[in-house]
């Protein structure tokens, strides 16, 4: 009779970063690694696996691996690929089974997933046609405001009166931000306006799926306190952030890998 593997690997090849996780049957994370995806999804996946090997000091060749994310088919070592919708859902459910809505805001896309009591997705919406409402949008705005992406959220929280930024199109919003700078608005107010506009965009996407509480937020943008604040306000809800919110998809993939029968 086939037995359950003792370990599982999840590789999430996102448009901006690639994440990999090695877990054991207890669900303990043995090793994890994150790297910029860059020009080759395949190479970034290989690099992640090499790092997991170094961190865990284990032979990974016999451990089942599931790939997910935009570049999921490029992970040659993966046993199979599963969409990021399912993997994020499974990943966040393992960390907090109460979560019913997951909002994942990554580098180049964002998604809202409604999660059933069994941890499987029941409905979802993706915004992946342009960079509006994604980490890339914030990166461009940080550049215009001459601050780092890490500090942009904190800057936004210092605002007294957020500037009005009406567009979430990265190209148009950049012009608007430049206009606000020209009008003499202070950087904190502009940063707040940028976050408010993006939060409104993600809230709309969330309402398309139908928001059910409690809500979790994952992806790189979940680390941004300014975005969390404005999105929480828009949705009138507290947002739960898991530990390592960028790894949720990889974690879900590792759990699925471990549940495959050998």
């Amino acid at each position: 009779m086939p037995s359950q593997p003792s370990h599982g690997i999840g590789i999430d090849i996102g448009s901006t970063t690639t994440k990999a996780i090695l877990i054991n049957t207890e669900g303990t994370i043995i090793a994890k690694f994150l790297i910029a995806t860059g020009a080759s999804a395949q190479k970034s996946a290989e690099r992640c696996l090499d790092e997991l090997k170094v961190q865990s000091q284990q032979d990974l060749s016999k451990i089942p691996a599931i790939s997910t994310g935009y570049g999921r088919r490029q992970a040659l070592n993966a046993t199979k690929s599963v969409t990021e919708i399912t993997c994020h859902s499974i990943g966040v459910h393992s960390q907090n089974p109460e979560i019913r809505t997951l909002i994942d805001v990554g580098g180049q896309d964002s998604k809202v997933i409604r999660i059933g009591s069994d941890g499987r997705p029941t409905d979802f919406e993706l915004n992946d046609k342009c960079s509006a409402g994604t980490g890339r949008f914030l990166e461009v705005m940080a550049q215009v405001l001459e601050t780092s992406i890490e500090d942009l959220g904190t800057l936004a929280l210092q605002a007294k009166v957020p500037s009005i930024i009406s567009s979430t199109c990265t190209v148009f919003a950049e012009s608007e931000v430049i206009g606000r700078i020209g009008a003499g608005d202070n950087p904190a107010n502009i940063a707040a306006g940028v976050h408010k506009a993006m939060a409104a965009k993600i809230a709309t996407l969330s309402h398309r799926v139908g928001v059910r509480k409690p809500i979790a937020i994952t992806g790189g943008v979940a680390l941004n306190p300014g975005f969390r604040f404005y999105l929480g306000k828009q949705l009138d809800a507290d947002l739960w952030v898991p530990e390592g919110p960028q790894y949720t998809g990889a974690l879900g993939a590792a759990i699925l890998a471990m549940n495959t029968r050998e």
Binding site: V82, I85, D123, K129
Partner: protein, 411 residues
């Protein structure tokens, strides 16, 4: 397996997906039809008609009908949508305009660079706005380029039952059409001939409907691409004996598949509903890739639109009724009702709504539709975005991720 014996990708696709032997007859039938449109054009009796046009009337006037929308499908399948659409855009037409309209106008502008050197020159352009409002300005643009006159059968949108004044208005439009045809083609109207054409039309529609309904069986004898390709005669040869000849053979093959338990795909695991026109430029790749994963589409909202027969009664009134009541001409609820009944009757596990950027009339309200269908039927669905002809507006990876996620929700 050695490299020499490795199957080519196309062979692999055929393994997951069973080809209909009727496809040879289909090719012959449509080739003959194309030739007949060329002859008709030379003889001065070719009309261009929209897909939802009451074609029985022009056929009863001994004219031959060519379908620019069907030509658009050919343009899409030949993967030259962006080129032909580009010709129309060079003339100043917006990229937001329907890609059937753009490719049609583009082919009139540059026939030598178009598949089949475009459709033969028409002597009249017959539009019915029961499928969308774009058809009139589109045909008017073609009219300016070709000199052929336009006649519009105006069927104002309906909600619920057709009121008497609506029916009377559409009837007056059809009587106007008869007058237009008599004058343009110098041919007298013969009601007997129209009754005969209507009978031929109904016979073909009945055979087509029976083939569609056979897909309630498990495994489904037809997949989406089978129906979309095989619908060509029911669109362009409705009202002719050729259509009946084709669908008799087609239905016999479908019946045989059902009898022997042969499915359209090798292993049927998930049964989905398809909504809207398909992405013609990737039709086989799209459905065959899913077929490899055990996904079959036993029903779709589009090909079922050609399954309404002309009811008994006074012929002009009957034609007015059937062509006014196509579900694209009715409120959103008519289409939702149709899709919910297809999901129930064909025992489907989920649905894919294709949001076609070109086809606003078909794609409008899909977000509400998705919620409502799931609420009523309990099955999940997904919206994918793109276009039927203009491949520049389609992102394969995004569409596939959505459908794969849907399958993961079902399996």
């Amino acid at each position: 397996m050695s490299p020499e014996t490795s199957p080519a990708p196309s062979e692999e696709r055929e393994k997951a997906y069973r080809k209909l032997y009727t496809s040879k007859l289909l090719r012959e039938t449509m080739t003959l039809h194309i030739l007949s449109t060329k002859t008709a054009s030379q003889e001065g009796r070719l009309v261009w008609v929209t897909s939802g046009f009451p074609v029985e009337i022009p056929v009863a006037f001994n004219t031959v009908a060519a379908y620019p929308e069907q030509y658009g499908a050919i343009v899409g399948s030949e993967k030259c949508g962006p080129l032909l659409c580009g010709f129309a855009e060079e003339l100043g037409f917006s990229q937001e305009l329907c890609s059937y309209a753009r490719s049609s106008i583009g082919s009139v502008q540059q026939p030598e660079q178009s598949p089949l050197t475009g459709l033969p020159k028409p002597q009249a352009l017959l539009a019915c706005n029961n499928i969308c409002g774009t058809v009139l300005p589109w045909y008017e643009a073609v009219s300016e380029m070709t000199g052929a006159p336009v006649y519009l059968v105006d069927t104002p949108p309906l909600e619920g039952e057709q009121p008497p004044h609506h029916l009377a208005y559409v009837k007056s439009n059809l009587n106007g059409l008869i007058e237009f045809m008599s004058q343009t083609f110098n041919h007298e109207y013969d009601e007997k001939q129209l009754l005969q054409v209507a009978k031929l039309s109904n016979d073909a529609v009945n055979l087509w409907t029976k083939a569609l309904e056979a897909c309630k069986n498990k495994p489904s004898p037809l997949n989406c691409a089978d129906r979309f390709i095989s619908m060509a005669p029911i669109v362009s040869l409705r009202g002719t004996q050729q259509a009946i000849n084709f669908y008799e053979t087609f239905f016999a093959e479908v019946e045989e598949r059902v009898k022997q338990g042969i499915g359209a795909i090798r292993e049927e695991r998930v049964r989905l509903l398809w909504d809207n026109i398909p992405p013609w430029f990737t039709i086989y790749d799209f459905f065959n890739t899913l077929a490899k994963q055990g996904v079959v589409f036993p029903a779709d909202s589009y090909t079922h639109a050609w399954s309404a027969a002309i009811p008994r009664g006074e012929i002009i009134e009957s034609i007015a009724k059937v062509y006014s009541n196509v579900y694209l001409n009715k409120g959103l609820s008519a289409k939702i009702d149709k899709m919910c009944s297809l999901i129930k009757d064909y025992d489907l596990d989920g649905f894919v709504l294709f949001s076609v950027r070109s086809c606003k009339r078909y794609s409008i309200g899909q977000m509400v539709t998705k919620e409502e269908i799931t609420r009523r039927t309990g099955v999940p669905g997904v919206i994918i975005e793109g276009d039927m002809v203009d491949s520049q507006q389609y992102n394969e990876a995004q569409a596939k991720t959505r459908i794969e996620a849907l399958i993961e929700m079902i399996v």
